[in-house]
């Protein structure tokens, strides 16, 4: 009843009030200006990070609701998974544990040996990395960027800049941390750069995401560079962000045009950038002097890689890529 009265009271003024409000064009100008102001503030001054974090936290319940169907699907799937499949998985995992156990024994002795060698060389010790297991909540909703969101955030001690890896290799880097989730930019995103090393000959370069086709680009390498189809790129560890030696990509295409100054090298990420649910966030412990360490690392690596074939392109590449590397690390 009260609603009825209300309705009679409200019905009359509403159209005239709104119809005679600011004209559509005035509103357009007002809100467009506001949008441009926001774009400018966000891109130039980065003031809005706090605001964004606040809103992301508010949006979290919505995300949970939106993820509910998928969660229920996965849970029921797990519930109804057959006995055979579980047994199968169990044997497979046991075998894998065995294999990894053997590998780790080897690793322990190698780590010890490495420590002794580093002591002999009076080099800094590599600090142990700490890692957090996270689950992918959803893929980024923006079609222009290659991002995923994982369910670990500031409350779980995730720090922006941590490397994100899966069982096969690097898949990206944590770029924004929210209280309960964080944003991971994939290696295939155009804005992400990773210092890499060709496993075969130790050649250093910087890999950039291509932004489309799930591919990685290896730009600014001279045409006489020693990179072949099938080469594996691993992290060089020079940046202090990614632990050294993680697989990044596989070279799938090397085009050398006679009139182009640089070779066109396209690689495919080794880590499952688009098909895993569990990922590992790997970070160097806070407070380490990464710059100093990486410089020393580079100095130690130099004589090693000098043994390998192409040193001249190497130095050219270093000169070429250094400014870009600084850019990318910002």
């Amino acid at each position: 009843m009260a609603l009825g009265v209300h309705h009679k009271l409200e019905h009359q003024p509403a159209p005239s009030l709104f119809a005679r409000g600011p004209s559509a064009f005035a509103r357009l100008i007002f809100f467009a200006t506001l949008s441009f102001a926001l774009i400018a503030t966000d891109t130039r001054f980065h003031y809005l990070l706090g605001v964004r974090q606040f809103f992301i936290t508010i949006l979290h319940p919505f995300e949970i609701i939106a993820n509910l169907p998928a969660t229920i699907y996965h849970n029921t799937n797990e519930y109804f998974s057959t006995h055979n499949r579980l047994l199968d998985e169990n044997t497979r995992l046991k075998q894998k544990t065995l294999e990894l156990g053997v590998a780790i024994q080897k690793l322990n002795s190698l780590a010890l040996e490495n420590k002794h060698l580093r002591e002999l060389l009076q080099a800094n010790q590599r600090l142990p990395v700490h890692s957090i297991v996270a689950e992918v909540i959803h893929v980024g909703r923006d079609v222009f960027t290659k991002k995923i969101f994982v369910n670990r955030g500031k409350l779980h001690q995730v720090v922006a800049g941590e490397a994100v890896v899966d069982a096969n290799g690097v898949i990206g880097q944590v770029t924004r941390v929210f209280p309960l989730s964080s944003e991971v930019t994939l290696v295939t995103d155009k804005s992400l750069a990773i210092p890499v090393q060709v496993e075969r000959n130790g050649l250093r370069a910087i890999a950039f995401g291509l932004g489309r086709d799930n591919a990685i680009d290896l730009p600014f390498l001279p045409t006489n560079v020693d990179v072949q189809r099938g080469d594996v790129l691993t992290t060089s560890g020079i940046d202090g962000v990614y632990p050294a030696g993680l697989a990044v990509a596989l070279v799938i295409q090397v085009d050398i045009a006679p009139n182009a100054p640089f070779a066109r090298i396209i690689c495919k990420p080794i880590g499952g950038t688009e098909n895993h649910r569990q990922v590992l966030l790997v970070g160097t412990p806070p407070g380490t002097n990464t710059e100093k360490r990486s410089l020393e690392d580079a100095a130690i690596n130099e004589p090693l890689s000098a043994k390998h074939s192409s040193m001249t392109p190497n130095s050219i590449v270093n000169q070429l890529t250094t400014p870009r590397q600084q850019d990318a690390s910002e």
Binding site: L3, H6, H7, E10, H11, A14, P15, F18, A19, A24, F25, R27, L28, F31, A32, L34, S35, F36, A37, L38, I39, T41, D42, T43, L48, V51, R52, F55, I56, L59, F62, E63, I65, A66, N67, P69, A70, I137, H138, V139, G140, R141, D142, V143, F144, T145, K147, F149, R176, E183, K190, L210, G211, R212, E274
Partner: protein
């Protein structure tokens, strides 16, 4: 009417927003229509006194937060689209379904082109024509909704 309509409008906008938040991936992400913009266009045509350019701007801001892109991109795209819808609102109500459908397609394309321009300025890679697929799926969604009896303010009778 206005009281209940107000609730329905904002409830439907929240639902549309949750639809956007679903964990879409792969092909589904490429085909995903812009549920929120379509809902806004619907209410801009049907209830222009309750849903206007400001509503569109606010909704765009929420999409900006959800996508994690630069603040204001979707807000601007939605504002411009809403303006185009509002300017023709009185005519849109008189349109028949086919004419309305074409205009909605035009509006969805406007929003995508605005975004494309903004993204191109911020140095994102240009995408293939598949980028415009959401507009087509959006129009199909609109058509399905009309076929299922949703009142979009258009006239059912022939041209």
């Amino acid at each position: 009417m206005p009281q209940s309509n107000f609730k329905i409008i904002y409830f439907s906008l929240v639902i549309a927003f949750i639809c956007l938040l679903f964990p879409w991936s792969g092909l589904a992400l490429k085909l995903r229509p812009d549920f929120l913009l379509i809902t806004i266009i619907l209410w801009l045509i049907r209830a222009p006194n309750l849903c206007n350019i400001g509503t569109a701007w606010l909704a765009g801001l929420f999409v900006d937060i959800a996508t994690g892109g630069i603040f204001g991109q979707y807000a601007l795209a939605y504002t411009i689209t809403a303006y185009c819808a509002v300017v023709y609102q009185k005519r849109l109500v008189l349109f028949n379904h086919t004419q309305q459908l074409l205009y909605v397609f035009f509006l969805l394309i406007i929003s995508q082109v605005t975004l494309l321009i903004l993204k191109a300025f911020s140095g994102q890679p240009l995408l293939s024509w598949a980028y415009f697929l959401p507009s087509i799926t959006g129009v199909l969604l609109w058509r399905t909704a009309v076929a299922l009896g949703l009142n979009t303010g258009g006239r059912a009778r022939g041209t």
